[in-house]
């Protein structure tokens, strides 16, 4: 109940933020630009449109999650609006979860808006509706939810600029950590164990990337899809618990 009220207020705050519309505008430009890129390519034009479109949704979604997510909690502390909130019968984790869900709802609306443009462009080229494109978007959204949780974790103890850098680093590491697998194959002894532990700890955001399969029409295994969804939810829950633990003991001055 309390979480709902805060989430709704966060949603109102986020949708009145101009940064969001700037990003949405560039996302739309980027998606539409995929049509121009397609003209320049030899081969299947629709593949390029799908590839660039999905990548744009992912990239601009992550920018929205990070730029708005890192400011949300910090702004409340900086502007001292948190004083009147925490002095009410609200538990601190309710405040943090409210912020999180408010931003998740905002991102859902934004991803839906970007997807609409993307799907419309694909539809005008193929005249068919592909269910697999929806699936790819859903997994992009799962990734955004995780990045949001990370942004909120950092913003619960750090300034927006540092938090943005941390969250961006998390995103980049997450997309390149799969390459450790290659290194693990080559390594031996303790080095190998160390790398394996590192691989286990680092996030693997490539789990949510269905672009290759969807664009090239490759088969998707249900087991992999279920694993990726569970991975996303568990990782998000873990990050949120960590954020709550930090947030619960800090002083607001």
């Amino acid at each position: 109940m309390t979480v709902n009220v805060i989430a709704l207020n966060t949603f109102k705050e986020a949708v009145r933020d101009r940064v969001l519309y700037l990003l949405l505008f560039f996302a739309a430009v980027s998606i539409i630009f995929s049509r121009v890129l397609a003209l320049l390519t030899v081969g299947d034009r629709v593949k390029i449109i799908k590839d660039v479109g999905l990548a744009s949704i992912s990239l601009f979604g992550v920018l929205m999650a990070i730029l708005i997510g890192t400011g949300l909690v910090y702004k409340e502390i900086e502007k001292r609006t948190i004083f009147t909130l925490i002095s009410k019968p609200i538990r601190r984790h309710e405040f943090l979860l409210g912020k999180f869900f408010g931003l998740v709802v905002t991102l859902a609306v934004m991803v839906a808006a970007m997807s609409l443009i993307f799907l419309a462009i694909v539809f005008f080229h193929t005249w068919t509706v592909e269910a697999r494109l929806f699936l790819a978007v859903v997994y992009i959204f799962l990734e955004l939810v995780l990045v949001t949780a990370v942004a909120i974790l950092f913003s619960s103890f750090s300034t927006p600029i540092l938090s943005s850098l941390f969250a961006l680093a998390f995103y980049l590491i997450g997309h390149f950590s799969w390459s450790l697998e290659t290194l693990i194959k080559k390594a031996r002894g303790t080095g190998k164990t160390a790398l394996q532990i590192l691989h286990l700890v680092l996030p693997d955001l490539e789990n949510f990337n269905l672009k290759t399969e969807v664009v090239h029409g490759l088969p998707l295994s249900t087991a992999n899809l279920l694993y990726a969804a569970a991975y996303g939810l568990v990782y998000t829950a873990f990050v949120l618990v960590l954020a709550v633990l930090i947030f619960r003991r800090r002083d607001f001055i």
């Binding site: 309390t2 207020n9 109102k12 009145r16 609006t81 009147t84 909130l85 009410k88 538990r91």
Partner: protein, 305 residues
């Protein structure tokens, strides 16, 4: 009298700087606020007033000591249900209108929708903000924000209202209005705990005060007990007499447009001045006995520190 709010030896230190150095802000604060009174918490800037309030409200955690509200630990949501708080220099979500803003806070207290509408209209009327109810807060002046902030603090009909510098940044009319509201709260049986450095306000409305300087409470009690009723000196303003005639009767503070302001120390001296004026057919413009004020007491204490 039951204590609505009680602090027992509360201590808090903050670490600041690149190489952290502990700085103790609260050095053992103990005080108790009784039901139905207006309790003034005063001290110079940086004495630890706001830090104490933030400790009470659970925004910062004291290093030592206990705080109880309504006989419960202060972090207990059941205790927080009955508390209203107006922070110093309040900033609120400026994209909300006053009505939306109050509605948001009422929802946090789980007030039913119909009751919410009534209560918000009533509060907006109380703080005289009905005309601006549907304007976004970003268009509000400092005084308007203060009023809406006060309405926000009362949205749950609290038994204890905590106000941090409630009269700061207001014009004289605004100050009087807020003061009247605070007195009305007491009449309705609510307890008010307010911090301030504007001494006249405290003097006018508070039942009891505590004076904090440098993180320690130096004095605490009923205003009448803290301030002596003894007349310190009398200020007499006369005209029609030359300056040399008055010398020897008292300290001449100023002479302007034929009037002289005398500071007379003893009651006998006052009689002498009156006799002299009558004999010389002069005129008395004013005669004010000055007793000790809260300000004198306060200045003395800060100086002693």
């Amino acid at each position: 009298m039951d204590a609505v709010l009680a602090l027992e030896n509360v201590r808090k230190a903050f670490s600041t700087g690149f190489i952290p150095q502990k700085k103790e802000i609260l050095k053992g604060i103990s005080l108790s606020v009784g039901a139905g009174e207006i309790f003034g918490y005063l001290g110079p800037n940086g004495a630890g007033k706001t830090t104490t309030l933030l400790c009470v409200l659970g925004l910062i955690f004291p290093d030592a000591g206990t705080i109880t509200m309504f006989g419960r630990p202060h972090l207990d949501p059941a205790a927080k249900e009955r508390v209203g708080f107006l922070p110093e220099n309040p900033y609120f979500y400026d994209y909300l209108t006053a009505r939306e803003f109050l509605d948001f806070y009422a929802k946090l207290f789980k007030v039913a929708p119909a009751e919410r509408r009534d209560r918000i209209s009533r509060l907006l009327k109380l703080v005289d903000m009905e005309r601006a109810a549907d304007l976004p807060l970003r268009k509000f002046s400092r005084g308007m924000l203060q009023r809406v902030g006060l309405a926000q603090a009362l949205v749950n009909e609290p038994a204890l209202v905590i106000l941090d510098e409630p009269l700061g940044g207001l014009d004289p009319i605004g100050r009087k209005e807020i003061r009247d509201i605070i007195i009305r709260l007491r009449a309705e049986g609510q307890t008010v705990f307010l911090s301030s450095h504007i001494l006249q306000d405290i003097e006018m409305i508070c039942d009891r005060v505590a004076i904090i300087v440098g993180g320690r409470i130096l004095s605490q009690g009923r205003l009448a007990d803290l301030i002596s009723e003894k007349v310190l000196f009398t200020e007499v303003e006369v005209s029609g007499l030359g300056p040399d005639e008055l010398s020897g009767h008292g300290e001449c503070l100023s002479t302007q447009a034929g009037r002289a302001l005398l500071k007379v120390f003893e009651e006998r001296g006052v009689e002498d001045v009156l006799d002299l004026v009558r004999r010389r057919h002069g005129k008395i413009h004013s005669l004010i006995p000055r007793t000790q004020t809260l300000e004198d007491l306060f200045v003395d204490m800060v100086k002693q520190q």
